[in-house]
């Protein structure tokens, strides 16, 4: 033992000196006692012996307190834990048995509930199928989905009905919620259902509120979209989309879905990409209806819809005419010169009125004219404010003129009011 101190005399002395110095330093250093981590008791102790603002607590004291309080706390909690554990054991001696019983109960109830819900859902589905069949007066075959094609790119399902049940290719497939797709290939007892989100699918649709006609297409990513419409502020997200009946596959007026998003399509200018959220969840199909024949008479709602669509179709057909109305025509001249025409004439004149505003004469303003021949009279000229080069007597004798020389305003008539053809005058 002695040898130890002798042997390590120098280092021990050094350590002792360093320790002493640290303690001495710690006694001198004072830190504000604002440490929230310190236990409440410690903080109270500090306050008692320190100035009210807690500035004069020495570091050594802090260290002591910090070292002792955890031990105190540990002793305290272990006592209370032992006491608590004893109490628990006494109170819950039978809980394990009860728990087991209750869990059994819950499992049984869940099972029951699920089967009831399934029954109810099936009941509702079947009821709606039935109601749907009655509402649309369509001849159709109910079929079960029995499998998928499995490929990521093609969205084809297999149905348990086939040609023996009257199914043929191109027959539309629906659920009460809306359009699902159409029959592609038919086998005796099964058939292929091509979903509307398959890249090779398509359907003619109408946007239900704006009555705009469009074409629905599937995509390789399994989305349903409209990509043949140009940007139109009338089209809003959430607008329902229904079938137009023009494609000779889907009957008119079946719900397809709602508009989910509208975004410009940079690859396909100037068209927009409109994504449709299908009304039917195409990933969870169970029973579907295959429409094998449509009745000749439409239900009242569909008939109403048909009439509305017909009217819009007429409007669409006249898109070319609308452009034509902006171009000059004889009627527009007559309408423009006859002043404010009524109704359609006025509208027709709207396009071309500006372009012909400078034509001053209307038929009534003509003088004379041959009997029975329109526009065969003389115009009533509007007088000039001051004589110009067109006024009688304005032309100098030939000796004072250069043959073919342009008149003063010759260049005027070209340059100042000449407009860039790229930006025609807006009428």
């Amino acid at each position: 033992m002695e040898s130890f101190f002798v042997r390590f005399k120098n280092p021990l002395v050094l350590i002792a000196i360093v320790l002493l110095q640290v303690i001495a330093l710690a006694m001198q250093v004072q830190r504000p006692a604002k440490d929230a981590d310190a236990p409440a008791g410690a903080r109270a102790n500090e306050r008692e012996g320190a100035a009210p603002d807690g500035r004069n607590v020495s570091l050594l004291r802090r260290w002591t307190v910090t070292a002792i309080t955890p031990l105190e706390a540990a002793a305290q909690s272990s006592t209370s834990r032992v006491r608590g554990a004893w109490d628990d054991y006494v109170n819950l001696r039978h809980a394990r048995q009860q728990n087991a019983a209750l869990q059994d109960e819950v499992a049984r109830l869940r099972e029951e509930e699920a089967s009831f819900a399934e029954d109810a859902a099936q009941g509702r589905r079947l009821q709606r199928l039935l109601a749907f069949r009655e509402q649309y007066a369509l001849t159709n075959v109910a079929a079960q989905v029995i499998g998928t094609s499995g490929s990521e790119r093609s969205h084809v399902l297999y149905l348990d009905k086939g040609s023996d049940d009257g199914l043929k290719p191109d027959q539309p497939v629906i659920t009460p919620d809306g359009v699902v797709g159409k029959i592609r290939d038919v086998f005796p007892h099964s058939s292929q259902l091509l979903l509307i989100n398959d890249p090779s699918s398509g359907a003619g649709v109408i946007l239900a509120n704006t009555r705009i006609r469009a074409i629905l297409r599937g995509s390789a990513t399994g989305q349903v979209q409209i990509d043949d419409l140009t940007a139109d502020s009338r089209i809003k997200v959430g607008e329902p989309v229904i079938t137009s009946g023009g494609d000779l596959v889907f009957p008119r007026g079946l719900p397809v879905g709602t508009i989910e998003s509208i975004a410009p399509d940079p690859l396909h200018q100037p068209y927009t990409a409109i994504l449709i959220k299908p009304a039917v969840d195409l990933n969870r199909l169970e029973e579907v209806l295959v429409i094998t024949a449509t009745s000749a008479t439409l239900p009242p709602s569909a008939a109403e819809d048909a009439a509305a669509a017909e009217a819009t179709a007429d409007a669409n057909q006249r898109a070319a005419d609308l452009i034509a109305e902006k171009l000059p025509s004889l009627e527009s001249v007559a309408a423009a010169t006859n002043g404010a025409g009524s109704g359609g004439a006025g509208a027709a004149a709207g396009g071309a009125a500006g372009s012909t505003a400078a034509v001053p004469d209307d038929p009534e303003s003509q003088v004379g004219g041959l009997p029975g021949i329109p526009n065969s009279g003389l115009p009533k000229s509007r007088a000039a404010l001051h004589p110009d080069r067109f006024s009688p007597g304005a032309v100098p004798p030939a000796t004072d003129m250069t043959p073919g020389a342009p008149s003063q305003s010759q260049s005027q008539s070209r340059s100042p009011e000449q407009q860039d053809p790229q930006q025609p005058r807006q009428q």
Partner: protein, 633 residues
């Protein structure tokens, strides 16, 4: 035993081994060669073949340029339209699909079969246009049958919209699919079957300018020909827009003036040849040509005796009647023959043993009176003195019997008879008596309205004749301008010497025509406040004898001509009106007056030099009075 057999086998193997080695080596060499050929020599070829199988090129059609008038007012626009094509290399048995296609596209089955037959020699990969301008329903049909009718393709394109009622129809022309005959023509070397080209008018003469460059889209297809993606897109370059010299205000005045009549109106700026208006009636509807033309409409156009497809402004070749007397005056005055002439007009005169009538007894007539009076007797005498070849020389110097060189296709030449012409073409000798009717613009003389506008506008401009045009030469590059001028040759820009005295005499004479008084032939056609000069013409459709023989079924009323201009010398506008069977020249003068008035009013309006309408203040006062009284009630 075993050893023996092994030995024997080894012996046999050894014998065959060499052979089989060579065989194997030879097979390997052959295979290697094949591999080399497939993978290296022909690699490109096979790659292209494979790509072609996988990638299909779909054209993206470029929209044609729009057309505007000189002030930028829209004349021709486009609208989006969808065409359905048949792609034949996708399907083995197309005939089975035809009934379904026919019902979906609302086409008769036999029409599709005819189309297929028509294109049977074109390569399979080339799409056949099946139906143009399909309806949204038909588009939906194609979309809904993409899986079972992959042969149907749609193509978005821009279709032409022209003004209605045949306004500007002949000037603008129309477009159509390039015909097989055209494709063999050198001019159409860059075109492919199914391309849309200008078929007449500006659409034809400026086709290269208006048509854009088609782009293309490379789509990736699977083994069923189904589109599964897109590789790349080459954007279509739209055609250039075109600004015409047409002034829509003047054009519409001319269109209205010709409404319900047949004939033509040309308005031109004689300073530079800008065509301000050009009307030909009866007209056709170019919009009918934008989509497939209905056979019934085509038949109705062909059967119309008024030839609606003909641009009468540049294609009607008719006797100019008395308007020719201006050219006669030019010849007579420049030859110093007309100045001393004093002709006694007693309602006609006897020349070469035959009586030629004048419509009035003008008494003693000199050249100054002869022009406004349009005295036939004077010009019979003048023609007799000048002789046909002198008349022809002057007439040809102002462009009669030659194309003007306007930038429109199929301009007619007209005809100025000469002795040589009669001998060479008609194989008959020239009878001196024939010159008499030439003197009043009858006989064999034939002009187009445009020729007359250029000639008389040039004379009124002191002999400066211009090449008429519908597109500003300044807006074309020198090469394009040269190309256009080579393509449409004509007498072009030219100056004919006219002495100032003769220039003044002729133009003052024409100004007298519309001044009511002693000398007028179109006195009622006076325009207050406008220096409106001109010359009437009443041209008989047939000779009197022919008239007597055959007037059944045909309209034999004379054609009415008027060449008007304002102001009288160096005019800013010259207007030629041809009113077929309009009976009298002064009837045509009224139509010309409408056009001149529209032009002058427009010019004055642009210069803010127009008085307010007189009736306006009175009306205002009365409405104010009513308005003031109303609240009191």
């Amino acid at each position: 035993m075993d050893l023996e057999s092994i030995d024997r086998k080894e012996k046999l193997s050894a014998a065959k081994l060499h052979l089989s080695q060579y065989v194997v080596a030879a097979v390997l060499v052959v295979l290697g060669c094949w591999l080399w050929r497939l993978q290296i020599l022909d690699a490109n070829n096979y790659r292209v073949l494979a790509e072609q199988n996988r990638i299909r090129r779909v054209p993206v059609l470029a929209p044609r340029g729009r057309i505007f008038d000189r002030y930028g007012r829209l004349l021709v626009d486009n609208y989006p339209s969808v065409t359905c094509f048949l792609v034949r290399d996708q399907v083995k048995d197309m005939d089975a699909d035809l009934p379904l296609i026919a019902s979906g596209l609302h086409l008769p089955l036999d029409q599709i079969q005819t189309t297929l037959r028509h294109y049977r020699y074109t390569p399979k990969y080339e799409p056949i246009p099946l139906k143009q301008d399909i309806t949204p329903d038909e588009q939906a049909f194609i979309a809904a049958h993409r899986d079972d009718l992959p042969e149907l393709e749609t193509l978005d394109e821009q279709r032409r919209v022209y003004p209605r009622d045949g306004v500007l129809a002949h000037v603008l022309g129309y477009v159509g699919e390039v015909s097989e005959a055209d494709l063999n023509d050198e001019r159409y070397a860059a075109y492919e079957p199914g391309d849309v080209v200008g078929k007449s008018g500006i659409e034809e003469s400026y086709d290269e300018w208006l048509r854009g460059t088609d782009g293309s889209r490379d789509i990736v297809v699977n083994s069923h020909g189904k589109e599964v993606g897109q590789m790349g897109e080459e954007l279509a370059k739209p055609g250039h827009d075109l600004r015409l010299t047409i002034d829509l205000d003047v054009q519409m005045a001319a269109e209205r003036a010709m409404e319900g009549k047949t004939g033509a109106v040309v308005a031109m700026d004689p300073h530079n040849g800008d065509i301000l208006a050009m009307v030909s009636r009866s007209a056709f509807d170019p919009n009918q040509f934008s989509v497939r033309l209905s056979p019934a409409y085509w038949r109705s156009l062909m059967d119309d005796p008024n030839h609606p497809m003909m641009n009468k402004a540049i294609q009607a070749q008719l006797a100019p009647g008395s308007t020719f007397k201006i050219i006669m005056s030019l010849a007579g005055l420049q030859e110093n023959v007309a100045q001393p002439m004093k002709v006694m007009c007693n309602g006609g005169g006897v020349f070469y043993g035959q009586f030629h009538a004048c419509d009035k007894h003008h008494g003693l007539v000199d050249i100054e009176h002869a022009i406004p009076w349009s005295c036939d007797t004077f010009f019979y005498t003048l023609a007799e003195k000048l002789g046909i070849d002198t008349i022809a020389r002057y007439a040809q110097s102002v462009g009669i019997g030659q194309k003007t060189g306007i930038d429109l296709p199929e301009e007619a030449t007209g005809l100025m008879p000469t002795v040589l012409w009669k001998e060479k073409v008609m194989h008959q000798p020239w009878y001196p008596g024939e010159v008499i009717s030439v003197g009043i613009g009858q006989g064999a003389v034939e002009v187009t309205p445009l020729q007359l506008a250029r000639a008389l506008g040039g004379i009124a401009s002191g002999g400066v004749l211009v090449r008429p045009h519908l597109v500003f030469p300044s807006e074309l590059s020198p090469e394009e301008l040269e190309e256009i001028q080579t393509e449409f040759p004509g007498s072009g820009d030219k100056t004919v010497p006219i002495s100032p005295q003769n220039w003044e005499l002729i133009t003052d004479g024409m100004a007298q025509t519309t001044v009511p008084g002693e000398f007028d032939t179109a006195g009622p056609e006076h325009l207050e406040g406008i220096d409106f000069a001109g010359k009437t013409g009443t041209a008989q459709v047939m000779s009197h004898e022919a008239l007597d023989r055959t007037n059944h079924g045909h309209n034999t009323e004379p054609n009415a001509w008027f060449v008007g201009m304002a102001p009288r010398r160096n005019p800013d506008i010259v207007v030629v009106v041809l009113w077929e069977h309009g009976v009298w020249g002064e009837h045509a003068a009224r139509l010309a007056a409408q056009v001149i008035d529209a032009y002058v009013t427009e010019q004055r309006e642009r210069a803010k030099n127009l008085q307010m309408q007189v009736a306006v203040p009175e009306v205002k006062q009365s409405t104010v009075g009513v308005g003031g009284a109303a609240p009191a009630e």
